[in-house]
Structures are given as structure tokens and as C-alpha cells.
């Protein structure tokens, strides 16, 4: 699925990432900046916890009544002249896209950033149809040129440094460039401007669909979505079915929560809200507007008490920026479109098979993701609940199951526990040196590869306890 290494499990992919110092430095550098900017901007804004709670309530209410709001949204969209396509699966969404593109006889398409189109591999399918696609978000454009997938929800090219970007641009444009931001941005602007003018269709994502008005709200820092949706004659919006807010007033709350959480910006540079295609008296806008609303495993979470709240996610990426695992391995090592804590939770839920079932284990359960989440999704708890489901459905290794059954037996009674410690104390004898174990043996190997492990001392606390009480109070 990912373009990286093709390894089938997160453990192997992580090995590659851990050996890539460029990657890790780039990820450290950018996530640090985003974290500190977020901290500063939310501190200055004030009452951040109250805003988070308000955000959580709005999302909870919306998702709990998603059928109602989706229906309202659709009716309002259609009343404004947009075409709405419900896609139960990725295939259905691609089918709808093909039909629109064929009807328009489209040859060239420009796109602004959209994780949903990554999820269903829109670019791949368009290229198969012989259609030329250009990503217009700068980060997405870089990733497209390098033949990769985004490694961050908000910062697709977070894993690239400016030297690598210059090399990609030089190869694409056949001209010499410096590594100055101004130079690189100017090259992208020149190239992308030609693409906007030549495009038959513009594809955008959707940050929020506003049910009461049938509007699409898009947040960008480059203004590229505005060109994508206004310049070509046809505009296609891809959105996940959960991406709804009831009212414009709710959008105000998320106009605070999203940019502050995502990039530590007080406000987003461009927030555009469009309602339907161009009307007769209007000068700009696409003549046709299609909205493709994707389910693809989302509705399965509705009504599930353990996981419904995953649909509250607004794709801000804040959980990635604080995750100690993401910090070390970056996004591609997750091997799924959605990386980081939200990806580790979401990918196994959206895809029923075993493909992503190792992702929920790629977490220390530190809870930083929950603390960072602007709508308070308990991602750390969800990771445990996913592990519980794997255990319950028998999707775990027999050796692991046996180990925890032994744990249950041996730690289930104090007497057996004490005996276990006594035996372990003797067993450790041959591998213990100077009070520590370094041998890479059995399940200890993951630990001792980088750390010393303390040996069990001669006595347990409980064996010592009678002495502690005999000597009584007041003696240290």
C-alpha cells in the first residue's frame, strides 16, 4: 500500500525508518515547530480545554445524528444544483469519478489536498484512465513528484528536507534552483499556474460539510483549493461521510480548533466556503459541482460503543505531532494512508482484514495523542480495545496467548506469584552480571538490545515486610 519498502509489517518498516537519519531529523524538526507553535497559540487564545470540550460535544452530537445531518446536507446541496454521489466503497467512489471524467472528456485534472482521495487512490485510477493529474498543495506536489504517498496528514512532505525538494523540482522542471524557500515556491507557483489554466476538472477534499446550508468549507494555507475549485469548469469534492457539521456557528468553533491544533496557526490563511456551482449572475466558480461522499468502512463504526468516536476526528494531525512513535519512525512506516495514532486506530477499523492489525501495537499507550486531540478522542483507549478484539477473535500468536495464560495462573494467587519469583531468581543466575542482565534471550531481547535489565534481588518486599514492621515506626 505504501510506496516505502513494501514490507508487510510495521516492525520491519520501522527498522528502515530508524536507520534513516535524514527522515528522523526532518520529522523531529517539523513536529517540534508545530508543537511549540500550538502550545503558544492555544495558551494565548485561552480556555483551550473549554474549546476542546465544545468541539467534542459538537462532533459527538453530529455523529450520533449523522443520518439526519447527511440527509439535510444532501438536500441542501442538491437544492443549490450540486450532484451528490454516495459511495459505499472505494470502488463505488472511483466508479462515480470515472463517469464524471468520461462525460467531461477530461484530459487534465488539478487537485488540492485530500486524504480521502489518498485513501481510495484517486491519482492511480486517473492515471490508469490516461488523465494527467497535478497535486497543487505544495507538500502533495513534492510527494507526487517523488512517487511517494503523504507521510503526515497535514504536512505530506514532512519527511523531505529542502535539498531533496530542490532535486525533485530540478528534475521536474529541467532548470537549476537554489534551496531558498522563495526559489522553490516560485518554481512550484509557475508550474502549478499552468496546470490550473489547462485543467478540465478540479478535485478538492472537504474539511467540513455544513448541513444547514449545504456548503463545503475548505482550509488551506496556499489558496490552491480556491483555484482548483473555481478555475476548471467542473469541481469534484471528495469527502468522508463523517465530515459534517450542523451549522455555520459550529464551523466557527472548528475554525479555531483545526488550524490551532494542526499547525499552531491562530487562523488559517484561506478558509473558503462554497455553496453549489456557479449561479447565473456569478462571475466565478465551476459550472458543475459533484460531491462524492464516501463510506468505505466508516458506517460500520456507527453504533459501536468502542469506536464510534473515531468518526469525530477532524484530521488535524495533532496526534502525530506529539506521538513518540511517529516521532521516531515517521508516517510511511505505518504502511497505511493514515499514519500516527489516528492511523493506528482507524486503519484496522476501515479495513477488516489482517493487513493493519499490527498497527495498534505500535504505541506505548502514553496518551499524548488524547491530550493533543482537539475533540478529545480517547485514542489510547481505542488502541487497547482493538487489541482486545484481536485477542477475542483469535488473531494473536499462540505464544503470546500462552504467556498471558501463564501470567493469569501465576499472578492470580499470591502464593504462586511468590513461587514464580523464587524460581525466576534461580533461572536468571547464569545470565546475570553485576546486578544486571544484558543477554538477548527470548522475550527479553527487545529490551536488552539497548538497555540493561535489573536482576531480581535476593528477597521480595513481602519477604522483607516482617522485618520492616518489627523495627517499627520512626527508623530509616
Amino acid at each position: 500500500m505504501s510506496t516505502t519498502h513494501g514490507s508487510t509489517n510495521v516492525h520491519d518498516r520501522a527498522q528502515h525508518a530508524l536507520a534513516d537519519d535524514f527522515l528522523r531529523q526532518a520529522v523531529h524538526f517539523t513536529t517540534d515547530r508545530l508543537r511549540y507553535k500550538k502550545q503558544a497559540v492555544t495558551g494565548e487564545f485561552g480556555n483551550w480545554e473549554a474549546w476542546r470540550e465544545r468541539g467534542r460535544q459538537i462532533r459527538q452530537h453530529t455523529i450520533a445524528n449523522l443520518d439526519y445531518y447527511l440527509d439535510l446536507f444532501t438536500r441542501n446541496l442538491e437544492a443549490h444544483g450540486a450532484h451528490v454521489h454516495f459511495a459505499a466503497t472505494a470502488d463505488d467512489a472511483i466508479h462515480a469519478l470515472r463517469e464524471i471524467a468520461t462525460a467531461q472528456n477530461a484530459k487534465r485534472i488539478v487537485k488540492s489536498k485530500s486524504m480521502v482521495t489518498e485513501e481510495i487512490h484517486v491519482n492511480h485510477h486517473l492515471e490508469e484512465m490516461g488523465i494527467h493529474v497535478v497535486e497543487t498543495d505544495l507538500g502533495e506536489y513534492i510527494v507526487q513528484l517523488s512517487g511517494e504517498t503523504p507521510s503526515h496528514i497535514i504536512i505530506p512532505a514532512i519527511h523531505k528536507n529542502r535539498e531533496q525538494i530542490r532535486d525533485l523540482f530540478e528534475a521536474a522542471g529541467g532548470e537549476r534552483l537554489t534551496t531558498e524557500t522563495r526559489d522553490l515556491a516560485a518554481f512550484a507557483r509557475r508550474t502549478l499556474r499552468r496546470a490550473y489554466l489547462a485543467a478540465d476538472i478540479g478535485i478538492t477534499g472537504c474539511n467540513f460539510g455544513i448541513a444547514e446550508t449545504g456548503s463545503i468549507a475548505l482550509f488551506t494555507n496556499e489558496g490552491n483549493a480556491d483555484l482548483v475549485m473555481n478555475m476548471p469548469k467542473t469541481h469534484i469534492v471528495f469527502m468522508g461521510m463523517e465530515r459534517i457539521l450542523p451549522t455555520m456557528e459550529d464551523l466557527e468553533v472548528f475554525a479555531h480548533l483545526l488550524p490551532k491544533s494542526a499547525t499552531g496557526q491562530n487562523v488559517i490563511t484561506y478558509m473558503s466556503v462554497i455553496t453549489g456551482p456557479r449561479r447565473q449572475h456569478e462571475a466565478d466558480g465551476a459550472r458543475d459541482m459533484h460531491v462524492i461522499i464516501l463510506d468505505n468502512g466508516r458506517s460500520r463504526q456507527l453504533g459501536d460503543p468502542d469506536f464510534q468516536a473515531v468518526l469525530h476526528c477532524i484530521r488535524c494531525g495533532a496526534c502525530l505531532n506529539v506521538c513518540p512513535v511517529y516521532r521516531q519512525i515517521g508516517g510511511h512506516a505505518y504502511g497505511s494512508v493514515y499514519p500516527g495514532p489516528i492511523g493506528a486506530v482507524l486503519s484496522p477499523l476501515l479495513n477488516n482484514g489482517e493487513q493493519y492489525q499490527d498497527l495498534p501495537y505500535a504505541s506505548s499507550l502514553c496518551g499524548a495523542c488524547y491530550e493533543a486531540c482537539p475533540v478529545k478522542i480517547p485514542l489510547h483507549d481505542m488502541l487497547v480495545r482493538e487489541r482486545q478484539r484481536f485477542v477475542a477473535s483469535g488473531r494473536v500468536k499462540p505464544a503470546e496467548r500462552a504467556a498471558f495464560q501463564a501470567f493469569r495462573q501465576l499472578f492470580g494467587k499470591a502464593g504462586r506469584y511468590q513461587t514464580t519469583i523464587r524460581i525466576a531468581r534461580r533461572l536468571q543466575f547464569p545470565i546475570a552480571h553485576d546486578g544486571y542482565i544484558r543477554a538477548k534471550i527470548g522475550p527479553l531481547a527487545g529490551w536488552t538490545m539497548s538497555r540493561d535489565f535489573p536482576v531480581l534481588p535476593k528477597r521480595t518486599f513481602r519477604e522483607l515486610w516482617p522485618e520492616l514492621t518489627r523495627k517499627g515506626n520512626g527508623r530509616g
Partner: protein
């Protein structure tokens, strides 16, 4: 006050001195300390790996051990967090055990939480003339919400030089079975933590959870960084003995 120790399996079997230190401090503060021997482990290793039945059977040892206790105190924010946040749901299908789980959660405190919130003691008359940095463990600070209490106790120590740990709130990479199961990722995380600890030029790293301290300490030792790793109770008791404040 009558206090029962929930010593945790890691302190019971590996870090005895933490148990001794906590006992001595509580005794010095006038508590009558008991150790109900039925206890083994909170069951978190199994619970976090998705084995709820296994976690429940092990967790029952705590419900049984502390049935008669007024107050339970533990040297681990993580194990106390397990009781507070997960026991009520873990035992939800048995009304009797469910009530016992709620009762246990209501009377169980992490050590610094107990000292500050319940005993309202932050000055133990300790003296500790060393450069010290503090690592706030994730479960204690984020899930249990014990953020400031350890620092209040440390600020009450005379002559201590407290230095901020860079990226203090970042996880150390322990995560229980994560450290072994995802050894390479965990190793990369703990190396960053150990490097940050070393950068403070502190003589002592102090914390409130032995899992995390075993992890960071194991990395410091492997990489020959001579920094002493102490649980908060160990630092305080040593300081009390040096300072001769509260009689300990």
C-alpha cells in the same frame, strides 16, 4: 491514619528500596502502615495487551487484598491509573466485584498524590544537595492527572537544585510489553530521553514510576552515563535522613 500499601509487582520483586522508602516516609508521617499479602499485580500487562479475562483474574487479588483497607497508597501512577480508569469497566459484569472495584478506585492514591492531597504535607524537612531533574511519567500525569504533586514535594526539599528536563512530558518508550514487542522503536525513544536527561547535567533523575525509571536507567547504564536514578520516595527518605526534619 491507617494506610495499606499496594506495592506493585515491580517494586515487590525488583525495587525493594522503593517499598522500604515509602513505608518509612509514611510511618514518619504518623501513618499506621500495613501490607495485605494477597496482592500481586494490577493486571495491566495483560489488560494493555488485550487480555481482559487474564487481567481480571490477576486484578482480583487487589480487590481481595484491600477489601478492608481505609486508604491504599502505591508508588506507581501507572498502576493506580489502571485501578482508577479501568477497574470499574473491567469488573462491570459482576455486581459484587464491580462495587469492590469502584470502592478500591475511590480509596487508592499514588504516593505523591496521597502526600499532597490527603496528608497535605509538602515539606518533609528533607535536604538533598544535588542537581536533580524530574521525568513526569505519562500514566501518572496524563491519565491519573497527578501533574504538580511530585514537584510540590521536590520543591519542599532544601538545597536541591531542580533543573527542567527538555521534552519532559514525552514518553520514555517503556509502555510495558511495548518495550519488548517493539524493541527497536522503544530503544530509539528511550535513547532520546536518556540523552535529554544527560543534557541537563543532573546528578540524579527522579520519577514516580519504576517501569519508566527502569527503562531510562537501563539505557543510561548501557551507555555509561553515570546518573543516579531514584524514585521520589527514595530521594525524599534520603533527604529526610540528611535533613533530620520529619523524624525518619
Amino acid at each position: 491514619m491507617k494506610v495499606s500499601l499496594f506495592i506493585t509487582c515491580i517494586v515487590d520483586s525488583v525495587f525493594l528500596n522503593v517499598g522500604i522508602s515509602m513505608t518509612r516516609i509514611l510511618q514518619a508521617c504518623g501513618c499506621e502502615v500495613s501490607f495485605p499479602p494477597q496482592q500481586t499485580c494490577c493486571g495491566q500487562p495483560a489488560f494493555n495487551s488485550g487480555y481482559t479475562d487474564e487481567a481480571r483474574d490477576v486484578g482480583k487479588t487487589l480487590l481481595e487484598a484491600f477489601q478492608e483497607s481505609d486508604v491504599v497508597v502505591s508508588p506507581s501512577g501507572s498502576c493506580v491509573g489502571m485501578i482508577h480508569h479501568y477497574y470499574p469497566q473491567l469488573f462491570a459484569d459482576d455486581p459484587h466485584l464491580h462495587q469492590a472495584a469502584i470502592d478500591l478506585a475511590n480509596k487508592t492514591y499514588e504516593f505523591s498524590q496521597f502526600m499532597v492531597q490527603k496528608l497535605q504535607m509538602t515539606d518533609l524537612g528533607a535536604r538533598f544537595p544535588h542537581r536533580v531533574t524530574y521525568h513526569p511519567s505519562c500514566h501518572g500525569s496524563r491519565l491519573l492527572g497527578v501533574k504538580d504533586e511530585p514537584m510540590q514535594l521536590l520543591r519542599g526539599v532544601r538545597e536541591i537544585e531542580l533543573v527542567d528536563l527538555p521534552y519532559a512530558t514525552d514518553c520514555c518508550g517503556f509502555g510495558g510489553t511495548f518495550a519488548a514487542k517493539m524493541g527497536e522503536i522503544s530503544s530509539a525513544i528511550v535513547e532520546e530521553k536518556a540523552a535529554n536527561v544527560a543534557d541537563t547535567l543532573a546528578e540524579v533523575l527522579v520519577g514516580t514510576d519504576m517501569g519508566c525509571l527502569m527503562n531510562i536507567g537501563g539505557r543510561l547504564r548501557r551507555t555509561n552515563r553515570p546518573i543516579r536514578v531514584m524514585h521520589l520516595t527514595e530521594l525524599l527518605l534520603e533527604g529526610m535522613q540528611l535533613g533530620r526534619g520529619v523524624k525518619a
